[in-house]
């Protein structure tokens, strides 16, 4: 190179200088290479962490619809009024400038006063004592921010015609930790407030409306247990980005459909990156992944029928009755209505429930879905199972059985099993199957149950899948309780236990939904179905092209495998229990639809075997000729009067009437499929 050729000829000193220069530039080059090439990634990520804030944007939650597309749960826009701190930088600075000037003036005064006192000017060191400390400056800044925010809040308050409170501590904390995010000062504005705000305030003055989706259950407490409720939860779901600087409010379903189908309803949260400057103020924002809206869940429930069932329950038993109703399509297993009482308003949960309300709900254990999540002794409605077991094992329905009179109460019967005596509500006398069924004779069914053998009872019960979940949805279902074959064969099992089983007591617990499946199987000719409560999951936007995923109806879980004749005898007896004047379920009879049913009254005992109350039951289907509907009504009662026939049958009656009314109104269109 020309330059170096020249240097070679020159004196050694210049060459030394050239070498030093080359060395120095080499060091710089190596340093730059290290920083810009080798460590570039490290600095890039450092730069990102200091300049970017990521924000989780929740997706629009899917709706929950009834079988006709009526809305059970949806989202409504909610407007919050928020301060945009980045737009307030200038006012903050201006206010700070004024405060600082005041402070400096005060400081000058103090110095002057001190000088006057001492009669000389202060030295540099002495003046320093009067200087503002960092803490004081920070305090002035915080004070100026607060006063700007307060002024703005007051201004907004005047416009809206209502005070807009601003919590100083909260505001300062938001400034320190969520500077890049809007600061909400007034939540959930109503239309009047929105109009007043929009009228006066325009962009860029530091406050604006912020849209937020709020979960709304338009029918309030209707089907609340089924729908479940939401809880505030902005955490990342599985498969989602897990780190965010900030998260916008989001919800998570806890129980019911909201809980069981949460992943489908919730959709996929999106993410936004906010670029902030060195002071942390928002500079710009960029959505780098759009949230994917959640799916709609379409239920098999009929909203009108659901309402009718709830209303009849309230009418007969009051709003705080502990009860459940299940209405099922006997051929498809579709749950048309599912009532659990007492109920609650899921809107309360979405908006934050008050302590009083919460306490009351706890006291009533109202959040429990009694149709699926509580164990009940079935009482006499279990005699349907005993009847099938006996009929299948050689019982002649016309055979006459004599019920003995109870010596203590000659008007009623009694039966002795081993050393035990079991009272009968039926009067003493001669009984064939039909008469024993409609009088719900304990003596008859215990005798014939024992004769059929407990293994056969268990076998048929297993066919009904008692003691197993019906698989409705995950978070709210109990298995119930049903003894296993090995259990009943074991020595610990006595005839007394079998006798208990025969009257639906003892080691036996069921849920109303299980009973609805059972009655459906009797009604539909022996098919034990998987009940179905979700018809399909479909995209929120019908134009998205995505196919709805359907849950098939009428999936057979098991065949009873009993003789059709046995089922017919049982169905006839159930019809007569309602239609015959001697029957226990006459209150359920409806004009225009022949209802078949069985009543039940199960005793509830406390730990010391003291009778504390009853579970009243009515398990039914209709119409007799071509069964379509199964209705199971269960009422818990601490009142020792009443029976399944007097408490539950009238409620079932109302529901059947509602069904009839709906079918007539729709000119022959039936609720359950033909």
């Amino acid at each position: 190179m020309l330059i170096f050729d020249e240097l070679k000829k020159n004196d050694p000193q210049l060459r030394l200088v050239a070498m030093v220069l080359a060395g120095g530039l080499g060091i710089l080059l190596a340093g730059l290479w290290w920083v810009q090439i080798v460590s570039a990634q490290e600095y890039k990520s450092h730069q990102e962490t200091q300049a970017y804030r990521s924000v989780r944007i929740p997706a629009v939650r899917g709706k929950i619809l009834d079988r006709e597309g009526r809305v059970l749960a949806e989202n409504r826009p909610r407007y919050n009024l928020s301060l945009y701190l980045d737009d307030l930088r200038k006012p903050f600075d201006t206010a700070y400038g004024q405060l600082r000037k005041q402070a400096l003036d005060a400081q000058q005064h103090a110095i002057a006063a001190q000088e006057k006192k001492l009669g000389r000017s202060l030295t540099k060191v002495e003046r320093k004592q009067f200087a503002l400390t960092t803490a004081q400056i920070q305090q002035l800044r915080a004070q100026s921010r607060l006063s700007v925010a307060n002024d703005l809040a007051a201004q907004i308050g005047r416009q809206l015609g209502q005070p807009v409170p601003l919590d100083a501590k909260n505001f300062e904390r938001a400034y320190q930790t969520r500077l890049a995010m809007p600061y909400p000062i007034l939540k959930n504005l109503n239309e009047v407030q929105i109009a007043r705000f929009e009228e006066k305030f325009t962009n860029g003055f530091g406050a604006d409306l912020e849209l937020q989706a709020a979960r709304v259950y338009p029918s309030g407490a209707t089907a609340a247990h089924l729908l479940g409720y939401l809880r505030s939860d902005d955490s990342s779901a599985e498969g989602e980005e897990s780190y965010f600087s900030y998260r916008l409010p989001d919800y998570r379903g806890v129980v019911g459909i909201e809980g069981g189908f949460d992943a489908k309803l919730r959709g996929m949260a999106g993410a936004e990156s906010v670029l902030v400057n060195n002071l942390g103020y928002r500079q710009s924002e960029n959505i780098w992944s759009q949230p994917e809206p959640g799916h709609n869940v379409v239920l098999t429930i009929d909203l009108n029928l659901q309402r009718a069932a709830e209303n009849s329950l309230v009418l007969h038993r009051g709003a705080e009755a502990k009860a459940a109703i299940v209405v099922m399509d006997v051929r498809s297993g579709d749950v048309l209505a599912m009532v659990s009482s007492p109920t609650f308003d899921p809107n309360d949960f979405a908006q934050g429930i008050s302590q009083d309300k919460w306490d009351r709900l706890q006291q009533l254990s109202a959040e429990k879905n009694r149709a699926t999540y509580e164990n009940y002794a079935p009482g006499s409605i279990f005699k349907t199972v005993i009847a099938l077991a006996a009929l299948e094992n050689g019982l002649d329905p016309s055979e006459v059985f004599h019920v003995h009179a109870n010596p203590e109460n000659p008007a009623k019967g009694i039966i002795y099993v081993g050393k035990r005596s079991i009272k009968d509500t039926a009067p003493p006398g001669d009984y064939d199957f039909r008469k024993a069924f409609i009088h719900s004779s304990n003596s008859y069914f215990i005798t014939n149950g024992l004769r059929a053998g407990v293994e056969n009872i268990i076998r048929i019960g297993k066919k009904f899948h008692l003691g197993e979940r019906t698989g409705l949805f995950t978070n709210q279902e109990t298995r119930g309780n049903f003894p296993s074959l090995p259990r009943v064969i074991s020595r610990a099992w006595r005839d007394g236990d079998t006798a208990n089983l025969c009257i639906g007591q003892g080691e036996l617990a069921v849920t109303p939904v299980q009973m609805a499946v059972m009655v459906s199987a009797i009604a539909n000719g022996g098919k034990v179905l998987w009940p179905r409560i979700v018809d399909r999951i479909e995209p929120q936007d019908p134009a998205s092209g995505e196919m709805a995923s359907r849950f098939p109806a009428g999936v057979v879980r098991d065949e009873l495998g009993v003789h059709p004749r046995s089922l017919k005898i049982l169905r006839d007896a159930m019809r007569d229990d309602v239609s015959s004047s001697e029957g226990t379920g006459t209150a359920a009879a409806v004009e225009g639809m022949q209802v078949c049913g069985k009543t039940g009254t199960a005793q509830v005992q406390d730990a010391s075997n003291k009778l504390t109350g009853y579970n009243f039951w009515f398990a039914s289907f209709a119409p007799y000729e071509k069964p379509r509907y199964a209705i199971v009504v269960m009422v818990e009662s601490t009142d020792l009067h009443g029976s399944g026939g007097s408490v539950c049958a009238p409620i079932a009656h109302d529901v059947y009437e509602a069904i009839l009314k709906q079918e007539n109104a729709r000119a022959g269109k039936v609720l359950a499929r033909n």
Partner: protein, 403 residues
């Protein structure tokens, strides 16, 4: 080698150096623009008040001054060098007088406010020192062997050094040392003097650093707080003394974070530029204000270039400086006499010191000092002096050997 016919066809000026110079000035304009236009309030100014326009004006004035200097033979200039030296010492003294010198709130009294221009005497003192030292050291080599001459030379250097140190402006003062040293070396000062000098300076520096870093507070040399902090930042040492209470330590740590902020941000700028950079005017560090807006366009202009143009940009800048420095050395080699050679070497060393210290502080090779990057950093005094210095070098080239 001396062949008049060849020399006559050679250009009067060192064109290669001038091209590098021109490119650097273009880069300077572009990135002063980029660094200041990101700031909304300065982008609002009328065009004639904008920093980059002013920078162009300074360039023009500097070129004017450089050309003017080329018109006068450097021998004539050298004869007046002691006047310049005396004047610069005078200004270095009056800048220390309160109400004449101003500190711009930085705690160091470095500027004289002339209204349109913040005159920084230390920049001109560097030039005057080079001229004066070249003139002084260009005496016959034999004389340089005399002790008295050597010590006078040292004195020549120490006077402005101490005055600049008093401002205080440690960085500007320190660049005088290598400049003087190299000039002495090239002038032919006996090695043993220089070795001893280097030894003594090195020992003092080592003692000084040891004192700053390790000595208990009572034993430390008096120094401006920010200077000590900058050194502590550079060496990554703890601000708090070992005996400090937790509260004091926490405060010291916060202070340390604040003080190392500039360096940290400069390094993030440079590093996040990567190989290709983010593109002109696309540097987030500047736009978002992480690089302090007051420093981005002057002392930290290199961070802006490195962030926006990446390693490639850094390489271009380094290459341009290398061209200027080595053509400068070539000019020194071809100089007609020792005076010319010394002037050229002095200018080269001064420029190199600035480049090394300024770029070095961006990547934490060197502690932070307020030293501008010649020709790129915004600033009247710096631009003027750099261009005048290069004018001097061209002057030496014009009047080179055999021409």
């Amino acid at each position: 080698m001396v062949n008049p016919s060849i020399n006559e066809r050679e250009p009067k000026l060192d064109r290669l150096q001038l091209v590098a110079l021109a490119v650097l000035m273009c880069i300077g304009t572009l990135f002063v623009y980029s660094a200041t236009m990101a700031n909304a309030s300065s982008a609002m100014l009328p065009w004639y008040d904008q920093t980059w326009v002013r920078q162009i004006i300074w360039y023009a004035m500097g070129i004017g001054a450089g050309v003017a200097l080329c018109l006068v033979d450097y021998h004539t200039l050298a004869r007046w060098s002691f006047v310049a030296y005396g004047a610069s010492v005078f200004f270095l003294i009056i800048v220390l007088i309160p109400h004449i010198g101003t500190s711009h709130g930085w705690g160091a009294q470095r500027w004289i406010d002339l209204g349109f221009f913040q005159f920084q005497p230390s920049e001109f003192a560097k030039l005057a020192f080079i001229l004066a030292a070249a003139n002084y050291l260009s005496r016959p080599v034999d004389e340089l062997r005399q002790r008295l001459v050597f010590w006078k030379g040292i004195g020549l250097m120490l006077l402005p050094f101490m005055l600049i140190l008093k401002e205080p402006d440690l960085g500007s003062a320190l660049v005088l040392l290598p400049t003087g040293l190299v000039m002495m070396l090239v002038a032919g000062t006996p090695k043993r003097y220089l070795l001893r000098l280097v030894g003594v300076v090195g020992l003092l520096a080592a003692l000084f650093l040891a004192d700053i870093l390790f000595a208990p507070p009572r034993w430390q040399v008096p120094m401006q707080a920010y200077q000590r902090q900058r050194l502590l930042v550079y060496f990554g040492a703890d601000f708090a003394a070992a005996s400090a209470t937790p509260a004091e330590k926490a405060q010291a740590r916060r202070l340390q974070f604040d003080k190392s902020y500039q360096v940290t941000q400069a390094m993030i700028s440079v590093g996040s530029g990567g190989l290709m950079g983010k593109g002109w005017r696309k540097g987030d560090q500047t736009a978002l204000g992480f690089l302090p807006p007051g420093a981005a366009h002057n002392d930290f202009i290199f961070s802006v270039i490195a962030e926006e143009e990446g390693f490639v940009g850094s390489l271009v800048v380094l290459t341009l400086y290398a061209v200027i420095l080595f053509t400068g050395l070539r000019i020194a080699g071809r100089a007609r006499d020792r005076l010319g050679k010394l002037v050229a070497v002095g200018v080269v060393t001064l420029l190199f010191s600035h480049v090394f210290v300024n770029i070095g502080m961006n990547i934490r090779i060197v502690p932070v000092t307020g030293i501008p990057l010649p020709l790129l950093s915004y600033g009247g005094s710096s631009v003027l002096c750099s261009l005048i210095a290069l004018g001097l070098m061209q002057n030496v080239h014009i009047h080179r050997r055999g021409y």
